[in-house]
Amino acid sequence: MGGFEIALMENNEIVTLHLKGFLDAHTAPDLESELQKCISEEKYKVIVNFQELGYISSAGLGVFMGFIEEIRKNGGDIKLTNMSSKIFRVFDLLGFPALYEIFRTEEEAVQKFT
């Protein structure tokens, strides 16, 4: 069983979440509460690194939809990085690249924030 883990790093106002394992309807609430925590702590510059994520369903994508409005309203953004082609295909299928900035590396996303 792969499960799901989130590792959190903070550096100069930017919070980076490293996702690992499977993001589905069962594990999506874990990511939801991490993003909720960012908002309640007024940390609106968020990078999500998908390097170690093996799977995502629409429940996982829905989490990003649920927070992006509030984060952008406060001058921040959720930027997505290091997606495998498997993960990117799901985002692409639902037209998400039109709504989110997706970067090859975390460094590119950091540069965009600063």
Partner: protein, 143 residues
């Protein structure tokens, strides 16, 4: 000569906790049939979306109800039948979402059926609310 039909069945309580097991069950069979990785990923996601809908909508989060996943294969078709006894829905009332509008309004959820229809070759719903609802997903086996 009729081609040989193989059947595999998994019966579980309707918890999202079992989604990972269901995905493994279906992808292992799909791999054995000879699908490539891209098709296996499509089947995996479509089945997950169908089962998630059962847990969230048919049973409204009740995680102790029956959820059956059956895989039937013959020479041409890889068919997955997902059955539940919860609240059904009217397949005719399901509209294909306008993705542009959907994204601009940033709606949450409700993408499952759209994904199933995009990822699979055939999607069919048979609804008898409270008795037996079925979603049938078919992927054609490369000849």
């Amino acid at each position: 000569m009729a081609s040989k039909v193989k059947k595999y069945q998994l019966k579980l309580p309707s918890s999202t906790n079992h989604l990972e097991l269901i995905r493994e069950f279906v992808t292992n069979i799909a791999r054995g049939v000879g699908f490539d990785d891209e098709k296996i990923n499509q089947i995996e996601l479509a089945v997950d979306e169908a089962c998630t809908n059962v847990v969230k909508h048919a049973y409204q989060g009740d995680d102790r109800q029956p959820l059956d996943v059956m895989v039937q294969t013959d020479a041409k078709k890889f068919k997955i039948i997902i059955s539940d006894k919860g609240r059904g829905f009217s397949p005719k009332k399901i509209k294909t979402p306008d993705m542009k509008k959907y994204l601009s309004e940033m709606r949450v959820g409700g993408l499952g059926i759209y994904l199933m229809q995009t990822l699979m070759d055939e999607v069919d719903f048979k609804m008898e609310p409270g008795k037996k609802n079925q979603v049938q997903l078919v992927k054609y086996i490369p000849q």
